[in-house]
Symmetry: D2
Subunit: 280 residues, 4 copies
């Protein structure tokens, strides 16, 4: 039985680029991290060390900086699409390009109600993301947000779950619900104002999280995804990942005190991880 | 020549605590990380394994949770002072207590201009800090901020530095100045509204950074510290640490393009680190 | 058009467990991190908040500790299979279980040529991994290694790659090749001595890396995978991921010195990432 | 009351350098991270933006690479001393130089009992360190080790500690003792073979940890430091930092099982931190 290459991909990761766009009355500052991955007719590169079809990852990096000069002027999605088109158009051996961009958000400083023209403060921890996949002529764009740390102090419970021989968790009708949400959504077409759309989706996610009476993380996750599809007709699918950032009531009773559901241990590990994809 | 214990300290680190304070019309959510360190008459613990004077680090942790119930109600500084007093009052063998608290900031979500009563979004990356040191009856309080990511796209240069045999850096009158600032300041007395004071100092730091015409990171650091001392009479000393988050112009000229000081490589390593302490 | 749940999974991550197995003449120490993920008939949990089919992630965690008592006695693969069988057997609503285990390696200390009976030193950075997926009666086991930091100072070049308008990388016949390799392989059946097999595969990977005359990371990756399939008949597929840990010659010539390919800048970002799957 | 600069320092951190030293029959590979900090007559740089005495941190970085060419040939301590002397000799405005070097260890791969001439595997997690401080003509050298992950499964207890109102920890005569030790020691003079000395000290630390019957982390820490001073006459002081990497017995009894001190939760946070300095 012969041995063969079944899958391959290569590219440059963690290309950190910043740009100043000088407007008439202020400087716009942008900072992004770009990952590129190429797939295609690269079998002889792997099996024989034939580099003649290899676009060096260093060249990929250079291309990002060079094209950013003229073409990174609006959304990360638009820049990702431009990059993807460039690699496909110039490299016939490439059949699939994946461009993954994370934007590091900065906000103009404001003093006495007016925005400073060129001083910024980094915000976060949440970051906008774009994932562009171009495969045999078909291009898909996913926008997203990650590290969105959201929390509610009530309107969240977890009851009626299975009790087996290894169950010790108490049922609760009132707990903290906290997560570092990651979401990405797929558009029905690629002509949107991606930046405005991402802001609107983010708002829908926050609002649904805030007002949902949560019976479980699963239910809240679904409600958030469902609301995004209901409110945003240009989105056909959304995936959400919600690690449960546990806040566990501390046992004050052992010291003769009463924990009125107000003092908690915040833990990072272990953590529940809930995921779902909601479609039309 | 005899061998002896010259210095010792021990304590509990990374005690992660969250608290809900239920007000009439909304829930206040707070999350902190506390480090405790004790010094004192512990020589026989080290040299002989005599634990009779050892307050277990597990007990220190429990104490933080237990005392937070009644006494973590306002600033992290006030809670730190209470903790410090508790350990000193109850442990005659302890001569020095260090309490280091970092607050993880959360902001109430707002929809249509009104604040939600119990939904929060984590903010950052900057975090407020408090450092309380109680030593032989003397207590000092330092407030601070860390991970304050600030950046300006102009009004910053670096020229006229030494050119020796290993110097290759070009002089520039216009560069990006970016840093992840950490600052902590010492009060002349401990009766302030620490929370209000920290917010005011943060504003002074931001404003000075934004409006300063920077000839170097050193100069901007000093200007920021000087402004804090000038504007806040209750502060007698401030220490600042400003790593230089370099944004290096990318060489577009090699590709026949012109970098009009607009396309940069953002690097994490290596990085310049500038520190200073400014006093009255 | 109706909105529906397309994919779902949930489980507990980062369950950190250690175990002492007391043998007659020494203590065996093991430390692992386990991630569990369940999929199945959970639609109403998401859409309605019906928790009656939910095995709480806290219970999943407890189950790992409880079953480790009797059943974590040999390889991480065998323990993973046992866990997977347990969840499938006891939860008819679950159709798919994924168990992902990373072992943190420790080596018994040795003094004067003899092993200490109960003192260990952590080794690394490489760690063994096991991935068990049980899906509708079918179980697959992948063993692996991650964070395997390997490097060669010669017998590595990169030439004859595409030179386009954005290419600046020089060709080289002699460079450092360094990577933090991650590999995982699939067995033809599940009756092996997994621990012995993983050690043998690791050795094949190292030996091939060391003796291969590398024309590219791609070629070395393929050679490593091919050698594993050639030498280990019980393996039917292997996936490798090799980030290029760049060591870039420092420009000493600017200071009148000659870099005889001996002084390098070691960089983490950006980095090339090469991936491939090799099958029979 | 005038405002003034009380303390200042600046320098370059995280300078990552690798070097190949080509011996007749094999290649020696070294990788280090260097931090430099300078103090001196820099007041006007801070207060006025006068850069004429500033040796740019970029120049400091270049100097490390340039001097490594001829002068990084043996221990990190010797290279650190050379760097320190260089900065002092060439910069009269500098009164104090701190050079902090961490070495990332690599081991030559061995196959069938013989060492490969140019293939390496990264080891760890422990790393050797050197700290050179030159201050007004006086130079001190500290060697050290960090991230030394050591563990013993028995011969460790913790009893007879204070029981106050907030104590819940049970006494135990048999527990896991685990730590990620960091140690650094000061020499009586600077003419040693630093590399051999560091290896010997490391061995003393490991052996003492392994054979010590521990009544507390404090006692073990002291015993380790004491042994180093007893066995190594060229060392006059050692500082140790030992975070307690807790392994907490999991409550199996709640499930009708018996935890015979064999199943543990390994936790990272919170953690006890024990520190001490032992001198002659």
């Amino acid at each position: 039985m012969s041995i063969k290459l079944a899958l391959n991909s290569y590219g440059k990761n963690a290309v950190n680029l910043s740009k100043i766009i000088r407007h008439a009355d202020y400087h716009e500052f942008r900072q992004i991290t770009v990952n590129i991955s190429l797939e295609g007719d690269f079998t002889t590169a792997y099996t024989e060390g034939d580099n003649t079809k290899i676009l060096a990852t260093d060249t990929q990096k250079n291309t990002i900086y060079a094209l950013a000069k003229e073409h990174f002027t609006s959304s990360i999605e638009a820049f990702g699409i431009y990059l993807s088109d460039h690699f496909i158009a110039n490299n016939p051996q490439v059949t699939k390009v994946t461009i993954d961009i994370t934007e590091h958000g900065y906000t103009r400083m404001a003093f006495d109600g007016s925005l400073h023209p060129h001083a910024y403060i980094g915000n976060g921890p949440d970051k906008n993301t774009a994932l562009i996949v171009q495969d045999k002529g078909n291009i898909t764009v996913r926008s997203g947000v990650k590290d969105l740390l959201i929390l509610k102090t009530t309107d969240s419970g977890f009851e009626n779950f299975i009790r087996d021989e290894f169950t010790s968790l108490k049922e609760t009708a009132d707990r903290i619900l906290a997560t570092q949400c990651e979401a990405s959504w797929l558009y029905t077409s690629n002509g949107q104002d991606f930046t405005a759309c991402a802001a609107a989706v983010r708002n829908t996610l926050l609002k649904t999280f805030a007002f949902h009476n949560s019976l479980s993380v699963q239910q809240t996750l679904y409600a958030m995804g469902e609301a995004v599809l209901q409110e945003h007709s240009m989105i056909k699918e959304i995936s959400l990942q919600m690690p449960n950032k546990h806040h566990i009531p501390f046992n004050l009773e052992q010291f003769g005190l009463f924990n009125k559901n107000d003092i908690f241990i915040a833990t990072d590990e272990p953590y529940g991880l809930i995921q779902g994809t909601i479609t039309r």
